[in-house]
């Protein structure tokens, strides 16, 4: 078992980092937030060329997956660069379609489209099927469904086609949250419920990886800022209070990362769900803590819409509760352990 990335996986991450650095994601985000989707969709297609969208699609449908370790490597970079778009949702949809297999008439067609980057998918999960009962509360929205080619809705044990309704604004301007209008039932029964549970876990895992990347970037920019910004005649990074804030952010992130990696490694084992939830708890808390520290270290400028780090600060808070809050995932961890 590999508890660190191998050379090829590291190279994959570095390649994505390079593409995303060149893509100038802040301007893509600001466009996406205003409903100008094309630059974001172009980036989607570039990422598809590197294979990002094929990671949750099985080889039988033209994909390369499931490759959970590569998936969290990619999502870490998506988070570091705050890439807008329904990436985690598309991964969940791919997992769902894969699990349902021939039950869905157009399943393999969609899967191929996802792998090739032609089909942007989104998903509404009014309850999170992987979580125990009182923690399942979720949102009746499908992220960026107004930019998606395929929108699905899991409604109890029925899978339905869906369409984007009215868009609600999120604290994170890159997260557009349309409600969904339910359409035809595409499949129903226990197989849908079972597939939705795994799909949900994959969405959670992708989001946890993304959160660690978001937090990591916030730490990077805060360290840079603390070295450069002068107050009282010296860089603020000389002050112990600033040092200790930033050290705390690092400690949180350094321990969230192995939980995310470990969850990816346990894909397919009975512990996968428990480990995914543990990863989401730690990643949410670490990224949100990093965001608050980034805000405190930057001061007023971090509180400013036009200054790029605020894009990451807002995303950390929004993803903190997306795909299940830390409390919801703690409930899942405990119920898994108690049931074991």
């Amino acid at each position: 078992m590999k508890f660190i990335l191998d050379a090829e996986q590291r190279l994959f991450g570095e390649t994505l980092d390079k593409i995303l650095t060149e893509a100038d994601t802040p301007s893509v985000i600001r466009g996406w937030a205003a409903g100008v989707h094309e630059p974001g969709l172009a980036l989607w297609r570039s990422l598809a060329e590197t294979g990002v969208l094929a990671l949750a699609v099985p080889e039988s449908a033209g994909g390369a997956g499931p490759l959970p370790v590569e998936l969290v490597t990619a999502f870490h970079e998506l988070g570091r660069h705050a890439v807008p778009g329904p990436y985690a949702e598309t991964v969940a949809v791919a997992t769902l379609l894969d699990r349902l297999g021939d039950e869905l008439e157009r399943g393999s067609e969609w899967l191929e489209g996802i792998a090739e980057g032609r089909v942007v998918a989104s998903l509404a999960l009014p309850t999170l099927p992987a979580l125990p009962a009182p923690a399942q509360a979720s949102a009746p929205y499908a992220l960026d469904a107004d930019a998606a080619d395929l929108v699905l809705l899991v409604d109890g044990d029925a899978l339905r086609a869906a369409a984007a309704g009215e868009v609600r604004a999120s604290l994170d301007p890159a997260r557009r949250l349309p409600s969904v209008v339910a359409g035809d039932v595409l499949a129903a029964g226990p197989s849908v419920a079972a597939a939705a549970r795994v799909a949900c876990d994959m969405g959670v895992l992708a989001t946890a990886a993304q959160l660690v990347g978001v937090g990591r970037r916030l730490l990077e920019v805060s360290v840079d800022y603390a070295k450069a910004r002068q107050q009282f005649g010296r860089p603020i990074g000389e002050f112990q209070a600033v040092k200790h804030h930033l050290a705390d952010a690092l400690v949180g992130l350094e321990y969230a990362r192995p939980l995310v990696h470990g969850a990816a490694v346990s894909y397919g084992s009975p512990d996968f769900g428990r480990d995914v939830s543990a990863a989401k708890v730690a990643a949410s808390e670490a990224a949100y803590a990093a965001a608050k520290i980034a805000l405190q270290v930057h001061g007023a400028i971090g509180y400013t819409d036009e200054y790029d780090p605020s894009l990451w600060i807002r995303k950390a808070r929004a993803l903190h509760s997306a795909w299940g809050s830390p409390a919801a995932h703690r409930a899942r961890v405990i119920s898994s352990l108690a049931g074991a």
Binding site: A139, A241, L295, G299, A300, T304, D305, E306, R317, S321
Partner: protein, 375 residues
């Protein structure tokens, strides 16, 4: 001092009744956008009409000479009634106390009534790109000319300045003087010739601040507050106020804690003790802040650096209270709405008016007597 809470009951009843019949049924639009700014200005005028906009001021300027206790009671009732945020607060809480201490009679007579009525809304212009918490490193200049001063340079993070009428702040009038010396405190109309303002969106995009660029802006002598060159002392008298109770009155947090309790009743599983404990803590801390307020207005001595204790307490309480609300809202917590607006507002608390790190230094050195670090 013995506080006679029962003696203020008639005042409380009057305020409560007036608010009951006047507070807008639907919340006004956010005061950080143009439409909301105008609506809040109109509301200030309505308050002024009932002599409720500046209750603690002398009657001649539109107040009621209310005691500090009456002011606390006013604030409790005001926020409990769900009344609108105060678009005039920078003037009332930051400039007016400075004028009462350092202003001329002419300045008081000219500035205060239009501030009380909302006719003139004031923006604080202190920070500069290179000087956030470190006010002594200000660089925008005031140059002596015949009959007044010419302002040059840049200010930033000027709250309300996107839509406000006048601004105030310290400028360096003696370029030779170092740090705390040679600053002059001035007032200026934001539409003066030579001022360019650029609104800045806060973290939710609303233009809650502006950058101000000064290019030979003439300010007559009558708009200097206090002695020229004594701007640091004048500014510090504002700072003391800003960090005390006035910037965030206890009533504000009591009302927010009550709304949080309502949200908890509506939304939470009553068995969810994790959220229950956080709701309880918000209420307990709001209550502590109320009692601390009563204690403060009972004292006759100067609270001095102790105001830093208040600033840390309310700013951290405010963040925690709103985080609890977002967590209660669960997946809806990220959606635009009143709680999110309150959360965004709360996030500024630990940063502005002196970061909480600076406040902790002040407490350690000036309240606890720990040694200052060598440079």
């Amino acid at each position: 001092m013995d506080l006679d809470l029962s003696s203020v009951e008639p005042f409380r009843a009057e305020v409560r009744e007036w608010l009951r019949t006047h507070v807008p049924a639907a919340p006004l639009p956010s005061l950080e956008i143009e439409e909301g700014f105008a609506a809040h200005r109109a509301w200030e005028r309505e308050l002024y009409g009932a002599r409720l906009s500046v209750v603690s001021w002398p009657e001649e300027y539109g107040g009621r000479a209310a005691t500090p206790l009456e002011w606390l009671v006013f604030e409790e009732e005001y926020y409990a009634a769900g009344a609108p945020g105060r678009v005039s607060q920078n003037g009332i809480n930051l400039l007016a106390p400075t004028l009462f201490q350092h202003g001329t009679p002419e300045q008081l007579a000219r500035v205060l009534p239009s501030m009380a009525s909302g006719e003139v809304i004031w923006a604080q212009a202190w920070s500069e790109p290179g000087a956030g918490s470190d006010l002594a490193s200000l660089r925008a200049t005031a140059t002596r000319v015949d009959g007044g001063w010419l302002l040059n340079g840049q200010k930033t993070w000027s709250s309300r300045a996107a839509f406000a009428d006048w601004g105030f702040g310290p400028f360096r009038s003696d370029p030779e003087a170092q740090r705390h010396r040679g600053l002059t405190y001035l007032m200026f109309p934001l539409d003066a010739e030579g001022i360019t303002r650029r609104p800045i969106g806060r973290i939710d995009g609303k233009p809650a601040f502006a950058e101000l660029f000064f290019d030979d802006v003439f300010v007559p002598d009558r708009d200097v507050i206090g002695e020229p060159g004594a701007g640091w002392k004048v500014a510090m008298s504002t700072t003391g106020n800003e960090r005390g109770l006035t910037l965030r009155s206890p009533g504000r947090f009591l009302a927010a804690a009550d709304r949080l309790l309502d949200l908890w009743r509506e939304r939470a599983d009553p068995g969810d003790t994790a959220l229950r404990d956080r709701v309880a803590d918000a209420w307990i801390k709001a209550r502590a802040y109320q009692l601390k307020g009563y204690e403060t207005v009972s004292r006759t001595d100067d609270i001095g650096a102790e105001s830093s204790i208040n600033k840390i307490f309310w700013s951290e309480l405010d963040v925690a209270l709103h985080e609890t609300a977002l967590d209660l809202l669960g997946p809806d917590g990220e959606l635009e709405g009143d709680w999110l607006e309150g959360y965004v507002f709360s996030l500024a608390g630990p940063i502005y008016a002196g970061t909480n790190e600076i406040q902790r230094n002040v407490i350690a050195e000036r309240v606890l007597g720990l040694p200052r670090a060598g440079r």
